[in-house]
């Protein structure tokens, strides 16, 4: 029997990480999830992890920086920046700005972060951790109930989630190691952190989703939430209509292509179900009635709510 998620349970987590192959709809789904959470009254922070995230653009608001910025009831946005995160982190440890400036000339920092393997990822996941846990560690109420990360595509997301373990293994003692352990404690706590794998009804996205699910569970050891099967072909022709068209021998190229698209969606839906038996799969249609990315996200938010609240449409 496959796992069943229910909206309230999902919303009790503190951190959602949205991942999947390039171009499958991660940013759109992250936005839709943000809409869903804030509608339930949660103070929600959406996180852009890389320069090309386009969340601000989707919400039609000005670009944001390294400070969370509220732009709509209950929804805030932040864009992470490894250089700023580096400075913030080092300052936490050495506490003197003048020393930081003396040691880390800006130019060096950029090169250093660019070139040091895994450092940008470590800084990113470290900042995400502090966005989730900072206040709680000081015994305060967190500023955000839920943090949603629009993560990079599969491989890079996996680096993000596995780099703390690398640090724990490679570094013997010191604050770096302690921090990495704290990050692991957050992302490996299934009551706090969930990943959302987004995919499409096509061969490579489905394969990659299946692989990702396995690696998230076994390699990164992070809990996997619902799988989002996005952009299914809209079934505008009901069974009866299709049958009638068939009987009347109406087989023009349009009807033919329509059937082909439906068949392809069905084929990959079944394949995904077959290969991820224990997961709940949310099925989202290709939205053709809306054009702007924000309207598409709204429509997808509705569709996910319906499926997670168990309400029959």
């Amino acid at each position: 029997m496959s796992q069943r998620w229910e909206l309230n349970g999902l919303l009790q987590r503190r951190l959602w990480i949205v991942t999947g192959k390039g171009g499958v709809g991660k940013t759109t789904i992250a936005a839709a999830l943000g809409m869903m959470a804030s509608r339930q009254g949660l103070k929600t922070l959406l996180v852009e992890t890389h320069g090309l995230s386009h969340l601000a653009e989707l919400f039609e608001v000005p670009e944001v920086g390294y400070e969370p910025k509220s732009f709509k009831n209950g929804l805030s946005l932040i864009r992470l920046d490894p250089e700023a995160a580096f400075e913030e982190y080092v300052l936490r440890q050495i506490k003197f700005q003048f020393l930081y400036n003396a040691v880390f000339n800006n130019k060096y920092v950029k090169h250093f972060i660019d070139a040091a393997p895994g450092l940008a990822e470590l800084l990113t996941i470290g900042k995400i951790w502090s966005l989730v846990e900072d206040e709680a560690r000081k015994g305060k109420k967190p500023e955000f109930d839920l943090v949603i990360v629009d993560a990079p595509s599969t491989g890079h997301s996996l680096s993000l989630l596995t780099v703390p373990q690398v640090v724990v293994d490679a570094v013997r003692v010191g604050p770096l190691k302690n921090n990495a352990q704290e990050i692991l404690a957050l992302i490996r706590d299934p009551l706090k952190t969930l990943t959302w794998v987004v995919t499409l009804p096509e061969e490579m996205p489905v394969n990659e989703a299946v692989e990702m699910e396995e690696k998230l569970e076994n390699q990164a050891k992070v809990a996997v939430g619902p799988i989002v099967l996005n952009s299914l072909w809209p079934q505008v022709l009901g069974k009866d209509s299709l049958q009638e068209l068939k009987k009347a021998k109406i087989e023009n190229p349009m009807v033919h292509l329509y059937r082909q698209r439906v068949d392809q969606s069905d084929f990959y839906r079944e394949k995904l179900q077959e290969r991820l038996k224990k997961r709940q799969i949310l099925e989202l249609p290709l939205i053709y009635q809306q054009k702007s990315p924000i309207r598409i996200a709204e429509a997808l938010c509705e569709a996910m709510r319906t499926q997670l609240m168990g309400v029959k449409p």
Binding site: E57, Q93, I94, F112, D114, S153, A170, G174, S241, P253
Partner: protein, 379 residues
């Protein structure tokens, strides 16, 4: 819109270019486009090779390159003929590996085996090697250089990995040498670190400060590990840098052209714009845009055939609306994009590949797409 006179076809491009590099964001069809382009080029008489990255299994099978063995494989004429292609020149394919690649670089540029082994065995290296930014992209470039240099193809088509950090591969060699050249890094490269914590007293004040800061953050032992690894890697740098420079020359050569593959949707097109600017910034020879998977309206009566139930009629109408909307949206996105980009340069190819009604994993499908790429029609 670009004036028609400023556009040139792919055919014109082939007369000028020896290397075509297909780049773009994830899943837009880089691999498919590269293969289609190569197949078509060979069919009109160019001896061509496509260097492909992570193709779908069935596509690899169709190209006869199931294994990653860095072998150039000729696609048998008989296979091509079966798919309805009458090749005028031979077509080759080769699969590039994007994994475990940094090890190869170490082996290649280490002065001797022992040195290479020392690095490969370094614990820290093992942990970090598969995270080195841009190394995968860089490997593709290395192979490209080799093939262009040592063989006599008329055309080499290079597929690129889905690079989140657009065009990482171009920066990879620079990044590596910038890091090792930096003053902060130079301190790490000093053998004094191996002596132990006490040797800190011998260092001058500013250096000592740096180490104190690092020590506080990462712990002294970690710094030693890091230093040790960097010392061994830095020995390879010379060869690495030299080659990187040659690769860079090749990328900037006038015989090379970058093609940007994009999906006709608003967010992906923003990304294509970013890629385009990056290519401009790097002064790379840009050759054109290919919009892939553009939806068309299939033929069929736009009004439902008469005599159907009312419900069937209205659903049929909705289907027509669905197809028309999808096609219209794509058209609008592409038009907006063109307007935004204000192409000013002559000689930029601008092509549309339609969404086929099936996945493109066989030679016949690739040939069909290739035909569209090379058609000189209005779209």
């Amino acid at each position: 819109m670009t004036p028609e006179s400023k556009k040139i076809g792919l055919q014109g491009l082939l007369e000028k270019k020896k290397v075509l590099i297909c780049c773009g964001s994830g899943g837009v069809g880089k691999t498919t486009t590269s293969a289609a382009l190569a197949l078509y080029a060979s069919s009109i008489g160019y001896k061509t090779i496509v260097l492909t990255i992570d193709p779908a299994k069935r596509l690899a099978n169709s190209l006869g390159i199931q294994k990653i063995d860095y072998q150039e494989k000729e696609i048998p004429k008989s296979e091509l003929k079966k798919a309805g292609v009458e090749p005028k020149a031979p077509l080759f394919a080769m699969m590039l590996d994007t994994k475990r690649t940094f090890d190869d670089l170490i082996v290649k540029y280490a002065p001797d085996e022992a040195k290479a082994e020392a690095i490969l065995q370094n614990k820290l290296y093992q942990h970090l090697s598969n995270m080195i930014a841009g190394s995968q992209e860089y490997m593709a470039m290395e192979k490209l250089y080799e093939v262009v240099q040592d063989r006599d193809y008329d055309l080499v088509v290079l597929d690129t990995p889905p690079s989140r950090h657009a065009l990482d591969f171009l920066d990879a060699p620079n990044k590596m040498s910038a890091m090792l050249g930096d003053s902060v890094m130079k301190w790490f490269l000093k053998p004094s670190l191996f002596v132990g914590k006490n040797s800190l007293q011998l260092l001058d004040r500013s250096v000592k400060r740096v180490f104190k800061a690092f020590d506080k953050i990462a712990g002294f032992e970690f710094l030693q590990d890091l230093s040790q690894m960097l010392v061994s890697v830095s020995g390879l740098l010379e060869g690495f840098q030299e080659r990187a420079q040659k690769v860079e020359l090749l990328l900037h050569d006038k015989d090379t052209g970058f093609l940007l593959v994009a999906a006709p949707e608003s967010i992906p097109l923003r990304e294509a714009e970013y890629f385009y600017r990056k290519i401009q910034e790097n002064a790379l020879p840009f050759s054109g845009f290919i919009f892939n998977r553009v939806q068309g309206v299939p033929k069929g009566p736009a009004t439902p055939p008469t005599g159907l139930k009312a419900r069937t009629q209205s659903e049929y109408q909705e289907m027509v609306y669905l197809f028309k909307t999808l096609a219209h949206n794509d058209e609008v996105e592409i038009a907006n994009f063109q307007e935004r980009m204000e192409f000013s340069k002559n000689g930029i190819v601008f092509k549309i590949m339609p969404q086929l009604d099936h996945d493109v994993h066989d030679l016949a499908g690739l040939y069909e797409l290739g035909g569209k790429l090379f058609s000189e029609g209005p779209k």
